[in-house]
């Protein structure tokens, strides 16, 4: 077969392939990128209420207004608290569970799906249940976790959960950790399994102890997995909306950026502000995700 024929064939295959993905490319261009551009456009105007008829461009005013908007900084701070506790919590619990399973206990398959199941529950359903569990009443009126703590003799640990100004977002992170740590477990377990056994054997032959094998051989190999986990948890956390709404509605105390965006857009009909918040959120997520995508692409090119 001559080279020219093969090239021709692959060209037609490529064009055919392009036709197949074209609908999705077009819809993505319109509904993702097109609407991002549209949102940026709105965020630069003075469409600060549904009644505005003369629309003018006001530059970055909506963004600079956000900086001094106490409601926005409050929701941003809430989001940061939530993100830090959620990521650390899910990472640590998930990693420890992966480590235990990696040691090869009986019924690994059972435990794997057992811990993965919480992911199958929607945030809204989970929010309703955790709303009951995180009941802030104490002592004789207690219910949920506070009651459980009393029963096991840890009554002094009872607290206000998400109702108190200080602890609200840390309490909110609990259900998210509960849900996502099984997923982290699965990712890390896959990471461990991806490491060739030769490496361990080689280390053993060289006289490394078990803990040394983990520290110097296995953990460094898990860096890409760790990065993946951080990115996935990070962007889930930043988009947090349904969990918060499910547990505490639009209450001020647990308001995060996405909830405030909803309020600005649909309650106040301040479209300019709503889109400005959306763009800020998009940039925050992009800062987390884009370097990862680039890193991933490089890795792929490497292979």
């Amino acid at each position: 077969m001559s080279k020219a024929v093969r090239n021709k064939r692959s060209l037609s295959a490529r064009v055919g392939g392009l036709f197949f993905v074209l609908p999705s490319i077009i819809t993505v261009i319109i509904f993702v990128y097109g609407l991002i551009v549209w949102s940026i456009n709105v965020s630069l105007t003075n469409q600060n209420s549904g009644a505005k008829k003369e629309i003018e461009y006001v530059g970055l005013k909506n963004y600079t207004d956000l900086l001094v908007d106490e409601r926005f900084t409050h929701s941003l701070l809430n989001l940061v608290k939530f993100t830090v506790v959620f990521i650390l919590g899910a990472l640590i619990t998930g990693f420890i569970m992966a480590l235990l399973l990696e040691k090869g206990i009986k019924g690994e398959g059972f435990f794997r799906s057992f811990y993965l199941y919480p992911m199958a529950i929607s945030f809204i359903a989970m929010g309703t249940v955790f709303n009951w569990l995180l009941n802030s009443a104490r002592d004789e009126e207690a219910g949920g976790l506070n009651l459980a703590l009393q029963k096991i003799g840890l009554g002094f640990l009872q607290n206000d959960w998400y109702v108190s100004e200080k602890g609200a977002m840390y309490a909110m992170a609990l259900p998210a950790i509960w849900q996502m740590s099984g997923y982290v477990l699965a990712l890390f377990l896959a990471g461990f399994r991806g490491i060739p056994d030769d490496l361990r054997e080689a280390a053993r032959v060289d006289g490394a102890s078990e803990s040394q094998i983990y520290r110097h051989v296995l953990f460094p190999q898990l860096t890409p997995t760790l990065l993946t986990v951080l990115i996935i948890l990070g962007h889930i956390s930043m988009k947090a909306f349904d969990l918060i709404i499910g547990i505490n509605g639009k209450s001020y105390v647990t308001q995060v950026v996405a909830v405030y965006m909803w309020e600005a857009t649909f309650d106040k009909r301040d479209y300019a502000k709503g889109t400005a918040i959306a763009i800020v959120l998009l940039i925050m997520i992009a800062i987390v995700v884009v370097p990862y995508l680039r890193y991933n692409n490089k890795q792929q090119a490497y292979r």
Partner: protein, 425 residues
């Protein structure tokens, strides 16, 4: 796809109008529309039953018009309001939609999205049959934009007779002083004085709204919304101080509770008083509780003789594709027949002063009697006095104050003033 089907319907309607030579500006043209599309979120319980009563009346009068509820048919659920919003902004309105009467409509009115219904009020005689205070509040620059189908009362004190007897309270408190004295009695008897529901912030805001009204009286209260009473002045400061004092008698763990949970504390005898709108009574009735034994009511202390109301209403959007069908619907909404079909089931009273009281339960009978003679004042947190922007900021201000342990009175006053400004923007 939805969008294109709306266009199609609109185009079809336009062609139909052109062919029949029917002018769309004629207010009282007969309804020949084949369908009527509406947004209402009354989808379950007494609300749905009441709505069905009105729909039946409508169908009897307009047998050829199909009734379509877009909020249900669209499957949009909680997003119905956002969907409605985007359709109004895209100039593809439904024929009518449900909204709280009063300032909640402000954004639509200022955006020129609603038709003036004043002539309908005159032709149907509503300007005579609705109370003058109501007409005054609904009128914006000489025009009325909505038809109220019901009236709820916001300033109601609910209490449990058994718990009150235990605390040595024999009659409802009529003034704030008596109210606080009774709270103290509950406290001594080991019963939580006031049931609070913190979830979503609005029920606490509802409490503040009543407390401001009770502390400064209806004239000063209305002044807050026309600029003649200052939000950072002594009247509001005194009101917030009373509010703070009342909150200190509240139940623990209020932040987790929605209003039905807090109401249950009262009907179970675990809490003494509860300030909530009269939808509470409808809820408890459907739970099988008995008025008089499980719970009882009085006008909220400090506001005896004042009726703080809120109302669900329907409107006519500019450019409604089936305008005549919509006008026929609005006529049903404002009619005695329509209101008396809807309200006894919904658990609210008719906005009209001539409703057939024999259809209503004991609480509603007494509310209807008050409606005719009381000074009427609109509710802030339910959209009469404040528009959406004001309400969102108001609720957040109260939520901040409440979750911060209700200490920062000056901060609350400042945030409320900012909420009022947000409403004007």
């Amino acid at each position: 796809m939805r969008k294109s089907s709306f266009r199609l319907v609109a185009a079809a309607a336009a062609i139909a109008l052109a062919v029949t030579g029917c002018s769309s500006s004629g207010g009282d043209a007969a309804n020949t529309d084949k369908e009527f599309e509406i947004f209402t979120w009354w989808a379950s319980g007494g609300e749905a039953a009441g709505l069905q009563g009105m729909i039946d009346t409508y169908k009897a009068q307009n047998p050829d018009t199909e009734f379509i509820n877009a909020a249900v048919a669209g499957g949009a659920g909680v997003n119905a309001k956002a969907v409605l919003q985007s359709r109004l902004d895209a100039n593809e309105p439904p024929d009518s939609f449900q909204a709280h009467a009063g300032m909640e409509l402000d954004g639509y009115v200022r955006g020129g999205q609603l038709e003036d219904l004043t002539s309908l009020y005159q032709s149907e005689g509503w300007d005579k049959i609705f109370p003058a205070d109501l007409i005054r509040t609904l009128t914006v620059d000489g025009k009325i934009y909505s038809v109220p189908v019901n009236i709820h009362r916001a300033n109601v004190l609910w209490w449990n007779p058994g718990a009150a007897t235990k605390a040595g309270i024999t009659k409802a408190p009529e003034t704030l002083d008596e109210f606080f004295a009774d709270l103290e009695k509950f406290k001594k008897a080991g019963i939580t004085g006031l049931a609070l529901a913190g979830k979503g912030d609005w029920a606490i805001a509802h409490l503040l709204d009543w407390m401001l009204l009770a502390s400064m009286g209806p004239e000063k209260f209305e002044g807050l919304y026309n600029g003649s009473t200052s939000w950072t002045g002594p009247e509001v400061a005194a009101g917030i101080k009373n509010f703070q004092k009342a909150l200190s008698y509240g139940n623990k763990g209020a932040g987790n509770l929605d209003w039905p949970d807090a109401g249950k504390l009262v009907t179970d005898g675990k809490a003494g008083f509860f300030i909530m709108g009269d939808w509470a009574s409808a809820q408890w009735q459907s739970d099988g509780l008995k008025l008089g034994t499980d719970y009882t009511y009085a006008a909220a202390p400090g506001t005896v003789g004042v009726y703080q109301w809120l109302s669900d209403s329907f409107v006519l959007p500019v450019g409604a594709p089936h305008r005549n069908a919509a006008i026929a619907w609005l006529k049903v909404c404002g009619s005695k027949e329509g209101q008396d079909a809807f309200n006894p089931k919904k658990g609210s009273i008719s906005a009209r002063t001539d409703s057939d009281l024999s259809l209503y339960d004991d609480y509603l009978k007494s509310a209807a009697a008050d409606w005719k003679k009381d000074r009427l004042v609109g509710s802030t947190v339910h959209g009469v006095m404040g528009n959406n922007a004001l309400m969102a900021a108001y609720n957040a201000a109260v939520g901040k104050y409440f979750s911060g342990g209700f200490k920062d009175n000056a901060g609350l006053a400042k945030n409320l003033a900012a909420a009022y400004e947000a409403g004007k923007a």
